[in-house]
């Protein structure tokens, strides 16, 4: 058991290590000019110095904070509305097109609109990200409700559960697995939109701002380093949600 887990982690490390080695080899062999591709060691050094003295930690936290705000707004509006939409076939049919349309529209294309509505401040970035993430939550929750096992609902009904009890005791749990899929996708999407917004809407801080600044000053180690850090942030958020899901929705995929 213990050794099986160890070997799993060992295998998981193979890919990243290989990437690191290939990157290093390409750099050493001079296949790409060092101006465009700094060595991985140089990149990690840059992350280290910018984190300890250059305020990258603060940028990381700003981006994380904006992402979380957008996510919380998306979840707070997405889950209840999703349940309502999913519970009514007619309601769902009537707005299915709108949901699919806006889900397919790049959220970043709406920056100008949100800037007009919410101004140039922080909130317009959060609002765009929240909007994009909200659609994902909404869609997944509604889908989860619509695909609730009919037999379980009948079982509760036959045991004498009221409509309210069926909702609270059965529907809620039935759509939980799909809700988590939505929440996990939403948090990743929120991060993407926030970083892009920090890059292009104009921002005083955040990882996106740092990326665009390093591009302008041609500080490639910092550019690569910040991309790495954004990736780690996204991966970490995903991991947290996977863990939560495994813990809270233990029956997912098994029943």
């Amino acid at each position: 058991m213990q050794s099986a887990r160890l070997s799993r982690y060992a295998w998981m490390a193979v890919g990243p290590l290989a990437l690191f080695l290939v990157w290093y080899a390409v750099h050493l062999a001079g296949l790409v000019t060092p101006k465009l591709l700094p060595s991985p060691v140089r990149t990690l050094q840059s992350v280290w110095t910018h984190t300890t003295t250059g305020g990258m930690g603060a940028d990381f936290l700003r981006t994380l904070w904006r992402t979380l705000q957008a996510f919380v707004i998306a979840a707070a509006f997405g889950v209840p509305i999703g349940i309502i939409i999913g519970a009514s076939e007619k309601l769902y049919r009537s707005i299915e097109f709108l949901i699919d349309f806006f889900r397919s529209t790049p959220a970043t294309a709406m920056f100008p609109l949100f800037m007009i509505i919410f101004g140039l401040g922080d909130f317009s970035k959060i609002a765009v990200a929240a909007f994009a993430a909200w659609l994902v939550v909404l869609f997944n929750v509604a889908y989860g409700v619509m695909n609730a096992r009919q037999t379980r609902i009948l079982a509760a009904k036959v045991m004498g559960a009221s409509r309210a009890r069926i909702f609270k005791d059965v529907m809620f749990y039935e759509c939980l697995p799909q809700t988590f899929v939505g929440l996990r996708t939403a948090v990743s999407l929120a991060l993407v939109v926030i970083v892009v917004a920090e890059m292009f809407i104009g921002s005083d801080d955040g990882l996106g701002k740092r990326i665009i600044d390093s591009q302008i000053t041609f500080d490639l180690p910092q550019l690569y380093g910040t991309i790495l850090v954004s990736g780690i942030l996204g991966y970490g958020l995903n991991l947290i949600f996977l863990g939560l899901e495994k813990w809270l929705v233990h029956w997912s995929g098994r029943a």
């Binding site: 037999t151 029956w251 029943a255």
Partner: protein
């Protein structure tokens, strides 16, 4: 029997020009009168009458798609009827405590609750306090021959164990009527044999009126006090046969001469019913 029921029985038809449909013969639990049901204009029941006896097990057997599930779902109040009347000793379904065991146990149990909490659930709905629930469940468990831990989640149990939990969940409220729609058809043969005997033991001990749909003729006869055979749709009664085998029945019953005779008769009725249409 309540006063009202007794009065209804005494005021029984015997030539009455306006028969009271709520009258039921003694020993009868469920009366179905003039039942009609069609799906999208395709009739499944066109005026169906039957009496189901109290405290007995009735198996329903018939060709695929003849309306067995439709019938028990209508009687259990899960499916609206187009016309007719279904009463339980004169009461409606709303005033009757029922249990229902689904064929698909995987989709009928709540996987977010442990097996034991699944059994608690109907009692919680009734607002029964924890101590009383525990007492009733302990009593129920004593009647079963459980070889697994009820503190597991349903997905950690085998199919037979899950269906056992389903049956416990339906019995814990001490239902007046128990409905089972092909409860063992998703289990392997060995498990089916064990489950049949388990079910027979519990039902006979508790004297629950039971309506069982089975697509296995052997099972239908083995468990039943009466076998209701249906024709192709629109469904009519092909035969409503008494099974006078002594209880408890056990696997040796399967080779008993009387059992084989009854089974042969039901098979013949079934074949005639299928051929007739």
């Amino acid at each position: 029997m309540t006063m009202a029921q007794r009065q209804r029985q005494e005021a029984a038809p015997a030539g009455a020009s306006f028969p009271d449909l709520r009258w039921f013969p003694p020993g009868t639990h469920i009366t179905v009168r003039g039942l009609k049901k069609s799906f999208d204009g395709n009739p499944v029941y066109v005026g169906f009458d039957i009496d189901l006896p109290k405290g007995k097990i009735v198996s329903i057997f018939g060709p695929n798609g003849c309306g067995k599930s439709t019938f028990i779902n209508m009687v259990a109040g899960l499916l609206p009827i187009d016309a007719g009347q279904i009463l339980f000793e004169g009461k409606t379904i709303a005033d009757t405590r029922i249990g229902y065991v689904f064929q698909n146990y995987r989709e009928a149990l709540f996987p977010w609750l442990r097996a034991i909490d699944n059994v608690h659930y109907p009692l919680r709905l009734m607002g029964i306090p924890k101590a009383e629930r525990d007492r009733r469940i302990a009593e129920l468990v004593a009647g079963f021959d459980l070889k697994f831990d009820l503190n597991r989640y349903p997905y950690q149990l085998s199919g037979g164990q899950q269906q056992t939990v389903s049956i416990m969940r339906s019995l814990v409220i001490e239902p007046e009527v128990l409905f089972l729609d092909e409860p063992f058809s998703a289990l392997d043969y060995e498990m089916t044999l064990i489950m049949r005997d388990q079910l027979q033991k519990v039902l006979v001990a508790r004297g629950v009126t039971t309506v069982l749909v089975s697509h296995d003729l052997e099972e239908a006869v083995y468990l039943a006090d009466k076998v209701l055979m249906l024709t192709r749709r629109p469904s009519r009664i092909a035969d409503y046969m008494d099974v006078d085998l002594p209880r408890p029945r056990d696997p040796s019953t399967l080779t008993d001469a009387r059992f084989i005779e009854l089974k042969a008769r039901t098979l013949e009725v079934f074949q005639n019913a299928v051929r007739a249409s």
